[in-house]
Amino acid sequence: MKNQYILIFAIVITLFNGCTSGTHYKALIVTGQSSHNWRASSPILKQILEQTTLFSADILKAPEKKEEMSTFAPNFSNYNVVVLDYNGESWSEKTKTAFVEYVKNGGGVVIYHSANSAFPEWKEFNQMIGLGGWGGRDEKSGPYVYYNKNKLVIDTTAGSCGSVLKRQEFQVITRNPEHPITKGLPIGWQHGSDELYSELRGPGKNMEILATAFAAGTAGGNRRNEPMLMAITYGKGRIFHTTLGHADEGGGPAMECVGFIVTLQRGTEWAASGKVTQKIPYDFPNNGSISLRAGFKEMTLDDDLAKITTYDITKSTKYFVDLQSRIRTEAKTPEALQKFEKLIIKILENKEATDDGKKLLLGELSWMGSELSIPAIKQQTKNPNLKAAAEFALARLQPSR
């Protein structure tokens, strides 16, 4: 009997999780001291995590520099995942011990960008983050770990630890496409302008390098493929380490990059739960171009349609490419295609909509349209700017005529 209740309870929970956007995980963003602009980054991290509807996130500011650190004693075990946007003064021994216990017992951790320079002297922390930089770290901290072409290199050469390449857009290469965090991501994608961390060292135990970026000689790099995303286990705990996401005032391209946003969301879910349930969004960047989200929000179909309505050829085609991508991923049946077709017809019939926008849409309709579209397309043949595109679409949709 008891078992039955548990089963029913489990089903209810599953349905609930599947059908609603309920919050599942509690995240604690620890900040307040950093060599970086934590006042800009921490609220954005919170926004990015909460927008998945998987998390509710609290921001906890540590005492300011020189203030009494012993009062800083968060109850880590109240959270599923602790996100570190912190590289300030050392915590009290008690707090450190509590943190180690939290992770050992299965707590999740996310190391964000410059947090990997925190606590150079704290052994357990260095084990958790896999690789770190700066703060006097050197060969005693562990080897350099990187890829040379497709080969993983563990390099014990003596030398300093941590360097930053000049701000640039760069390509991120997925090294482990089977890990839950990176499964389904393109093997290569362009990242918004960011600091590229290089020459990190550390114990690198129980660590999987999920993605790398090439430290190009032209950007002052050492021509190594440096780890960008890592997954580490420590005790029962999981740590996701992203070196990406340098914050400008208001975030900037490194944090607006869909690649950063999505890997952070997926990595945080994995750290919290060991699995990733999120889908790869249609606007994930590829090798062709970076993909930024203004305001860190995923664009909606309405946004796309509004932008296409006012599109002229000098503007970005991104919204049209997004629409195409939605059609490919969401409309696999004639019925599903018709949903999009009706939206496109509305724009064709809209006198305010631009010819350039309509021209793109006529091209799309030429393969995915139906009888429904014919009157609206015929109407466009009267417009000299759209005649050719309309006739092309008609010829394809009505090949016999």
Binding site: P177, T317, W367, M368, A388
Partner: protein, 443 residues
């Protein structure tokens, strides 16, 4: 002087005689004819060229190495400067000033009395000009990919067969020892039963934005350059970079389908058939007028259960114990793998590569010179190493991949009837309607 048709008849007769005697046709060494090794003009193959850009003049250069066997008399290009450049090449090679130039291929085909023509054009022109040349009964050296659409491709195959002309596709890798060796090892089971072939192609090009409308240069007939493709204003994108715009090309994927996919099918022995199921994903530039895929990755299944994956090589998985280089074609069998690319061949065990193909095993068509093979076949009337049906089947895979990526749907394909099964929406993409007054070539 023997006129053209008599000479062609003679060549055909001697070929059939030779075939009747079950020996390979012998080409009389030119030295046997005296004249310093040069054939008399009447026995030289009379050639012309349509499309004299980078690839066209590259091909012409290969032909002009053999001026003893052939003579170019005319060239045709919608860019006057390019036609002039090609004429200069020809005149220098023949040491005269006789090469005629044209801007309109219809006039060129009408006026010139040719035996053969080499054609290198943007893909959107292949359907019309390949069929027109075949209908003029010219032997054709035509560039890959065979066609922009499967419907155009079938029309070209049918015109070539109907007119009984000799056709060579510019898939020159078939005339390279390493590619033939790799395919021969695979087809003879040296890596056991093959379950998967991976074809690694170059990454797609990133967007360039939308350049402003420009005045059409005086030397360029833009209307004729566009031909059957949709009319658009000139933005400085014509030569070479046409391949990044879907109206003219499918990008790196279709550009390279006629090379590495062609080789992959050769090793599978599937050159006259094709897969039955195609599914995949592409990503496209977010900015500007280039709209071919940047990343592309699709999986084809044959009725035999063998799988063929085609992708830009950075999208292919690195395998432990797999090849270090993922470009070109890699066949995976139950006894190992073989990878072949330009200037490269490697195997799971290097000893595989030393294997000799026995007398009673399958020997693939041997050609060590792609242009030479074409010229020999003009004389023998035999089939070339890269015949038209094979070229059509190779590009069909690239084009089916394009359809799968455009629709996001799994495509079921009947390689015998050449029809997409149960999907009228995706079937529309088998053809691109031509702009008036041009009409799609018919089968």
């Amino acid at each position: 002087m023997i006129d053209k048709s008599t000479r062609r008849d003679f060549l055909k007769r001697s070929a059939s005689l030779a075939a009747g005697a079950l020996v390979l046709p012998q080409i009389i060494p030119s030295t046997a004819l005296g004249m310093g090794g040069k054939l008399p003009p009447s026995d030289r193959i009379v050639m012309g060229a349509i499309g004299t850009g980078a690839q066209g003049t590259g091909n012409m250069d290969g032909f002009l190495q053999r001026v003893k066997e052939l003579q170019f008399v005319a060239v045709c290009d919608v860019d006057r400067n390019r036609a002039k450049g090609a004429k200069d090449m020809v005149d220098t090679a023949h040491n005269n000033k006789d090469c005629r130039t044209y801007g309109d291929y219809r006039e060129f085909l009408e006026k010139e009395k040719l035996d053969a023509v080499c054609i290198a054009l943007p893909d959107h022109w292949h359907g019309l000009i390949y069929t027109a040349a075949a209908n003029k009964k010219l032997d054709v050296y035509g560039e890959k990919p065979l066609a922009r659409t499967i419907s155009d491709g079938r029309a070209i195959v049918s015109a070539v067969k109907r007119n009984n002309i000799v056709w060579q596709t510019g898939s020159w890798q078939r005339s390279q020892q390493n590619f033939r060796h790799a395919a021969e090892l695979v087809i003879n089971g040296r890596i056991g039963k093959v379950s998967l072939v991976e074809v690694g192609l170059p990454n797609g090009i990133k967007g360039v934005g939308t350049p402003p409308i420009k005045a059409v240069p005086a030397e360029l007939d833009w209307e004729m350059w566009l031909g059957p493709a949709p009319k658009v204003p000139f933005r400085g994108i014509s030569h070479w970079n046409w391949r990044w715009i879907l109206d003219y090309s499918g990008g790196q994927l279709t550009d390279w389908a006629g090379h590495h996919i062609d080789i992959a099918q050769w090793g599978l022995g599937m050159g006259h058939s094709g897969p039955v199921e195609i599914e995949g994903e592409g990503t496209y530039p977010n900015e500007g007028i280039y709209n071919v895929p940047v990343d592309y990755n699709f999986l084809c299944k044959y009725s035999t259960g063998v799988e063929l994956r085609v992708a830009n090589s950075t999208q292919l998985p690195n395998r432990k114990d797999g090849p270090s280089w993922l470009g070109g074609a890699t066949w995976y069998g139950d006894k190992g793998w073989i990878n072949v690319d330009r200037g490269k061949i490697q195997a799971s065990n290097p000893k595989i590569l030393e294997e000799v193909i026995g007398e009673n095993e399958i020997h693939l068509y041997k050609s060590d010179n792609h242009i030479g093979n074409f010229l020999e076949c003009i004389k023998s009337r035999g089939e070339t190493v890269a015949p038209v049906e094979i070229a059509h089947r190779s590009i069909s895979i690239g084009l089916l991949g394009e359809i799968a990526m455009t629709t996001g749907q799994k495509i079921q394909w009947d390689p015998v009837k050449e029809e997409i099964i149960g999907n009228p929406v995706a079937s529309r993409l088998l053809c691109r309607p031509y702009r008036e007054p041009w009409e799609n070539p018919t089968i």
